[in-house]
């Protein structure tokens, strides 16, 4: 008894692949990292007592968001890099592709699993981060109330408002979304690299390289566009960097958000869309590369 006819795009197949990938990744030691992150957060908050509250919140946010950014970036690269090689080595890929599963669904499913993992991690870390922030804010408000018992109500109100503004700024959530999108971009790019890489390590090393160059890409781009001096060789090199590498600087918004810069929604939306475009394009490239690959 065979199915009624092959569907070229099946969400349930992709869902099965994504869910399976997610399960595979979750049962790795990945989640022990979350524990370390949690400890980092709480530990950091405790020894901050000697600084003023503005300083404390700034450091707390920088550490938490910085840890979130680096953790998701590392996770995206390391988790994705071993997906394809592992399947090929264990020959499980034959059993999957011998089913009526098109190769693009296989790739989408794999990336989907990684994105699920990243989303889950980001949510967990954000929850913890907000909880700690909320707790410290409340402790400090209580302390402030004690210290300002002689002052006028407007002044007390102002002090409390300033404290609250230091703790939660509106840009935190958009900033975290951008962190997630940057990680998903890196995951898609890693998937692409892994389709033609010779080994797991190769993929990771190349991705680390791309990560650093990606932060310089905007400088290269400006340089190239503004026709500065420099020989032909420099021009070619700079053009190469500007065209081939992603501009990762665009996704580093949290530094400035923490410093208190207000982020216009339009800007955030554009950056988010760019992140989604990058992810889709790299996934497409992964398919082009994987499409004819001999297994």
């Amino acid at each position: 008894m065979s199915r009624s006819g092959h569907r070229p795009f099946s969400l349930s197949r992709i869902g099965a692949l994504s869910g399976n990938t997610f399960t595979e990744l979750v049962r790795l030691k990945v989640f022990y990292f979350l524990l370390i992150f949690a400890l980092l957060l709480i530990g950091n908050s405790l020894f901050m007592a000697r600084l003023s509250f503005q300083q404390e919140f700034q450091v707390l946010k920088d550490v938490s968001l910085g840890a979130m950014s680096i953790f998701t970036s590392i996770l995206a690269i390391v988790a994705t890099a071993q997906l394809l090689p592992r399947d090929v080595e264990d020959r499980t890929i034959y059993t999957i592709l011998a089913k009526p599963v098109p190769r693009y669904e296989y790739l989408i499913g794999k990336l989907g699993g990684v994105l699920l993992l990243l989303a889950f991690s980001v949510l967990a870390m954000t929850a913890l981060f907000f909880a700690v922030l909320f707790l410290r804010e409340h402790m400090l408000i209580a302390a402030t109330m004690r210290e300002t018992t002689g002052m006028r109500p407007e002044q007390i109100q102002e002090a409390v408002e300033r404290l609250k503004a230091s703790a939660f700024n509106a840009g935190l959530v958009p900033g975290i979304v951008i962190i997630f999108l940057k990680a998903s971009l890196l995951a898609a790019l890693t998937l692409f690299i892994s389709t033609f890489a010779t080994s797991n390590i190769f993929t990771v090393v190349v991705m680390v390289f791309i990560y650093f160059i990606g932060h310089l890409q905007s400088t290269a781009r400006e340089y190239w566009l503004q026709e500065h001096g420099g020989g032909v060789l420099v021009k070619i090199f700079v053009a190469f960097v500007a065209l081939i590498f992603p501009d990762l600087q665009l996704f580093n918004l949290v530094d400035d958000i923490v410093a208190g810069t207000a982020i216009p929604m339009a800007l955030f939306a554009k950056t988010a869309v760019l992140g989604i475009v990058y992810t889709s394009v790299y996934l497409f490239f992964a398919w082009v590369s994987f499409h004819g690959k001999e297994l």
Binding site: M1, S2, R3, G5, H6, R7, P8, S10, S12, R13, G15, A16, L17, N20, T23, E24, R27, D90, R91, T92, Y94, T95, I96, L97, A98, K99, P100, V101, P102, G292, E294, L295
Partner: protein
């Protein structure tokens, strides 16, 4: 004309070797057909192109020249694999999944779901005798158990064609026997089986047709009986023959052109002896 289950037409596969001028010709102008309901054995030593041919039939590798079809559909179409199950050589599955979860995963990939998936999973586990281990992670399975779960996932969607690459390699005689029984059971249900092996004696008894590959070329092809029978010889097996009867037969033969070449006690096989001897011991998995 009934559509053959598998049709291979002038298949050639050349692998370029990186950094070297020479190329590896894995399969050279291969043509064969597997009729529906047959058990076909693709035999040959290691490196003869058996695995490559199977992979091309399954669309995992693309041919350099020629084409392959499954039930009339080109192998390069994804839909051609709707009714096909594949068990690769020495498979590993996802270690962290249990037996049941593994079957459910593959079932979903075939488009099964809901209650049907549940029923099929239970059926397959029963068929391969792994119900007791269904909730144990595959990381704890023995090689024989992995082979059996592999067979179960190949059959999960009730395929019309099952492709097995070295199904009995590295499996102990008892497991090997079970797999061969299973193959015959599949044949009984009308399922076509295409298998590859280099353990010739083991597959001799279950294949209807064989093709023998050497260095990518099909050197022999046909029905097993036809290939193996020594045309001009006849075997008679007698039970409780007395020496007088034997003398009479010899005298009868003397008068004709038939020549008596040999006379001896037929032998059982070492395999049967082994299985009989070990059957008394409880099986441990």
């Amino acid at each position: 004309m009934i559509e053959p289950a598998v049709a291979v037409n002038n298949l050639t596969k050349i692998f370029p070797i990186p950094f070297r001028r020479t190329k590896l010709v894995a399969v050279r102008d291969l043509s064969l057909e597997v009729a529906p309901g047959q058990v076909y054995g693709l035999l040959g030593p290691n490196g003869s192109g058996k695995s490559t041919t199977l992979k091309i039939i399954l669309g995992l590798v693309s041919p350099t020249a020629g084409r392959t079809k499954i039930f009339g559909r080109d192998s390069r179409e994804v839909g051609s694999r709707e009714a096909v199950g594949f068990l690769p050589e020495n498979p590993y599955f996802y270690k962290y999944l249990t037996g049941a979860e593994t079957l459910r995963f593959y079932g979903k990939l075939c488009g099964l779901g809901g209650r049907e998936l549940k029923t099929r999973t239970a059926e397959m586990l029963q068929l391969v005798g792994l119900q007791d281990a269904r909730d144990r992670r595959l990381g704890g399975y023995s090689k024989g158990m992995l082979q059996r779960i592999g067979l179960a996932q190949a059959l999960i969607q009730e395929p019309k064609l099952v492709v097995l690459d070295e199904p009995t390699a590295g499996v102990d005689p008892a497991g090997s026997r079970e797999i061969r029984d299973l193959i015959l059971d599949l044949k009984g249900r009308g399922i076509t089986v295409l298998l590859s092996s280099h353990l010739l004696a083991q597959v001799q008894e279950i294949c209807d047709r064989v093709g023998i590959l050497a260095h990518g070329i099909l050197v022999r092809e046909g029905k097993v009986q036809d290939l193996l029978s020594i045309e001009n010889q006849t075997e008679l097996i007698l039970e409780d023959a007395t020496p007088e009867t034997l003398a009479q037969i010899a005298a009868l033969l003397d008068k004709s052109q038939t020549r008596l070449i040999g006379q001896r006690h037929p032998q059982t096989t070492l395999e049967r002896l082994f299985l009989e001897a070990t059957a008394r011991l409880p099986e441990k998995e």
